[in-house]
């Protein structure tokens, strides 16, 4: 056999390998093939190809492996068990940029599924290699490395701490400044995943100067970038007052409100989350947001959105109103109560209704003026219905009851209290009657209205234990009226009258 024939055998083998790997890589893009591939034992076949002589076969094999591992947890675990990762990590440091991209893709696909896989990736020493990849020139390599780090850091605080200890954060901040949009998106998303776990991690991100760069990207037209930027800023500011103040100092605020009109709902949700996280810490921060017109903007956003996207906005209104009564009055003046009532009626999910009830309670609990504004929007019967309804979840009932109690304790607006008198269960009724007993002794018109609307009759029908607070309140209400009227409305008066008629002897 001549040399050429011998070489030809090798060439045929190489061609076959190349074709196999390329086809597998293409098949792995379609989800319906995955099962078949897995049953055919593709992982054990791909593993030796990773160590192939020809670089392109290595790269394509890594690509195929990454696509497979991306699909579900079992395959990722199989990849981990196959001892592929150390080899990949070693070659991450050595090979060219195509291979680096493919290897980083595999690591990210494996780490995506669960903390255990991510821990396995970290244990192979991937973090140092990935951080070294972040210093490369090629933006595709940086993007792949940043995405892998983001998937690792997403799961829990220890993994995030490991990523930070590998020195990723300053490099990620550098990546944010690069001109490529995809790289910016991924770097922002990774910073968001890192900072969400604990204040120390967020502080690390802030110390690397992330906030200024994130703030610069707020008005970038790209939607996905805006999502990630606002998510990152929100995660940073949620941990403590100092971090929130640093975010505010970066002059995020009037600019972020412009993004509340973005057509993409996730951008809006992330902006409202950021505003909520900033507003919840101190009254001064809430005051800043209110003065910038943030409350009106958030209320409009709540009106424009549906479902879960509304939730951060509703909570933000609750937090703002909870700080002080002037802020609650600002919320009322910006037509917040009207919008929250609409939410309460329209929404079907229990947790959103619970959040709305809580927010309304925070608004109404400060003073009679606030309670009047809330009660005038016809909120109290709805809250009562939520509390009484057996289909509501436990959390919703508790929140509705608390809101109802706190509003009732300050409410002096009697037309809104009347319907409650007729429908409420006893634990709410005692508050309602208490409020009546506070207002009626001083207002004669109200007393007249109370009688004509049937309230006095209802009060007489209430059975209360003698000596309890409810009985005292009923007594104080009764003492506002002359004796005959009280007797007239007491239950069973008609029988008494009829008995007297029977017993009467005409002279």
């Amino acid at each position: 056999m001549s040399q050429r024939q011998v070489l030809q055998v090798f060439e045929q083998y190489q061609k076959a390998r190349t074709q196999f790997v390329q086809t597998i890589a293409e098949l792995a893009t379609r989800p319906q093939n995955i099962e078949t591939l897995q049953n055919a034992g593709v992982l054990s076949l791909l593993r030796p190809l990773l160590l192939d002589v020809v670089p392109t076969i290595q790269q394509t094999a890594a690509l195929a492996l990454g696509r497979l591992a991306n699909h579900n947890d079992d395959l990722a675990e199989a990849v981990v068990k196959g001892d592929v990762l150390p080899q990949l990590v070693y070659s991450l440091a050595e090979q060219n940029r195509f291979y680096k991209k493919a290897a980083a893709f595999v690591l990210r696909a494996v780490a995506r599924h669960s903390p255990r896989q991510a821990q396995a990736v970290v244990d192979c020493g991937a973090l140092d290699a990935l951080v070294a990849c972040l210093e490369e020139f090629d933006p595709g390599v940086k993007e792949a490395a940043a995405w892998a780090l983001g998937n690792i850091a997403r799961h829990n605080g220890e993994l995030s701490q490991a990523v930070v200890d590998a020195g990723a954060v300053p490099l990620l901040v550098l990546c944010i400044q690069e001109p490529e949009l995809a790289l910016k998106r991924i770097a922002a998303s990774t910073l968001s995943d890192i900072s969400k776990h604990s204040p120390e991690l967020a502080q690390t991100a802030v110390d690397a100067g992330a906030i200024a760069h994130l703030a610069q990207m707020i008005l970038n037209p790209d939607t996905k970038l805006k999502r990630q930027v606002f998510s990152a800023l929100g995660q940073i500011s949620k941990h403590s007052v100092d971090l929130a103040e640093m975010v505010v100092e970066a002059e995020v605020f009037p600019a972020a409100l412009a993004c509340l009109k973005d057509p993409d709902e996730y951008v809006r949700k992330n902006v409202t989350t950021l505003i909520r996280e900033v507003a919840k810490h101190t009254p001064e921060l809430s005051q800043l947001i209110v003065n910038a017109g943030g409350v009106a903007a958030v209320i409009d956003t709540i009106g424009d959105s549906q479902g879960n996207v509304r939730l951060p906005g509703i909570m933000m209104l609750g937090y703002v109103a909870a700080h002080s009564e002037s802020l609650a009055m600002a919320v009322i003046v910006s037509k917040g109560v009207h919008q929250l009532t609409i939410c309460l009626v329209e929404e079907t999910e229990d947790h959103i209704k619970a959040a709305t009830a809580w927010a309304l309670g925070q608004i109404g609990r400060h003073s009679p003026e606030h309670a009047r504004a809330v009660a005038a929007a016809n909120v109290l019967p709805r809250l009562l219905r939520l509390y009484v309804d057996t289909e509501s979840s436990e959390d919703l009932r508790v929140k509705a009851k608390k809101a109802l109690k706190s509003i009732l304790q300050k409410c002096t607006y009697l037309p809104a209290l009347e319907p409650l008198l007729h429908e409420a269960p006893s634990d709410i009724l005692k508050h309602v009657v208490g409020q009546f007993s506070k207002v009626l002794p001083h207002d004669s018109k109200a007393r007249r209205l109370f009688v004509t609307s049937g309230g006095l009759k209802k009060v007489q029908e209430i059975k209360a234990e003698p000596g309890s607070l409810l009985q005292e309140n009923i007594n104080s209400i009764n003492s506002c009226y002359p004796e005959e009227i009280v007797r007239y409305y007491s239950p069973g008066y008609s029988e008494i009258l009829l008995e007297r008629v029977e017993a009467y002897q005409p002279t």
Binding site: E11, T18, Q22, A25, E26, T29, P55, T56, Q59, T60, L63, G66, R67, N70, P86, V89, Y90, A93, F98, K101, A102, F105, V122, D123, C124, G125, L127, D128, G140, A144, A162, A166, G167, P170, E180, L181, A182, D207, A208, G209, K224, E249, L257, A258, L260, K261, D262, P263, V290, N291, G293, V295, A296, A297, D300, S326, M329, A330, V333, S334
Partner: protein, 356 residues
Amino acid sequence: MADLKLLLRQIELIKEEYIATDRADAERRVKENGAAVRIQSWFRGTRLRSYLRHLHRQAIVIQKIWRGYVARVYFRKMVKVQCFLMKMNFYNEMAVRIQKRWKGYYVRKYVHNYYARKRYLDGLTKKNEKLRRAMEEFSEMQRNEREHYQMEREEQKKCLQARRMHFLLSTHQIPGVFNSPYRDFPHEMELQMKSVKPLLVKDIHHKRQAVDPSALGDTFLKTQPLPPIPSKKPQGPFRDPAAVLQQRYRPLEPSLRVATSITDLEEAREELRRGEWQRSIIHHAFQPFSHAHRNKKYERSIHTASSYERLGYGTVYFREENQGKLRGKKPFKSIFTTCHVFDKFGQFYSNAGKIV
């Protein structure tokens, strides 16, 4: 004898008289003594009583005077106290009036200023309105921009389509697909094709590259061109193309004599002179140092001197500050970013890493 008996009887009578009178005397004596004692005691008594009364009266006078004095002192004290209390009540009343006014003013102005609050809430409503309008405008503008962008993209696509299908343009003899004789007027594609140049193969390559790579997003899960496969080596006694290219385009390796410029010597001298000028501290090298203290001329620092005025550099500021931008901001917190040179020293995640 009878006289004697009479006398003896008289003596007996006298004796009896005497005894009787003696007895009577003694009784009377006792009685008179008693009476005398009684009178004397009465007299002593009255005398003593009058004396005591006199003493009492005198003591009373003294006590009266004393009590009056004490009472008057006490009274004066009481008057003083009452006067003081009256004054204090008056002052308190006046102070209450002042405090009433002050507290009312202070609370109404600083603690709960109703009108300021009202103004604030009105201002807030106006600001909300303004913001809502501004946001509406902004969203309008953005929507218009997006629509505009969409329209441009559509236009470009149509243009590309027309360029691609340029061969379907109708000629004088044969009407094209878009210019069918059964139509009233030609399709817009026909008109567009008329106005554009046909698309050549070499332009397609350019078109491909004009696509924004950042819009692709994930570069792996979508179909990306796989890495290039090396083509077969050409058969024949050809040398390795890399070696040939290297030889053909070998860079010039001039000798040292050729590489130095003709004015090298002068440039080197200039270089040295410049270096000396930078490095030298003493400009007047041979100043007479015996009278150095007298010859000291004050040299102004070049940083603070200019032809027209004294610059503020180094004296007023070290770094330029833009007051406009800095207004209302807190001063820099100088946070030292950590230097990661030795962080990883001795701390690797796995044993494999220690090889490095």
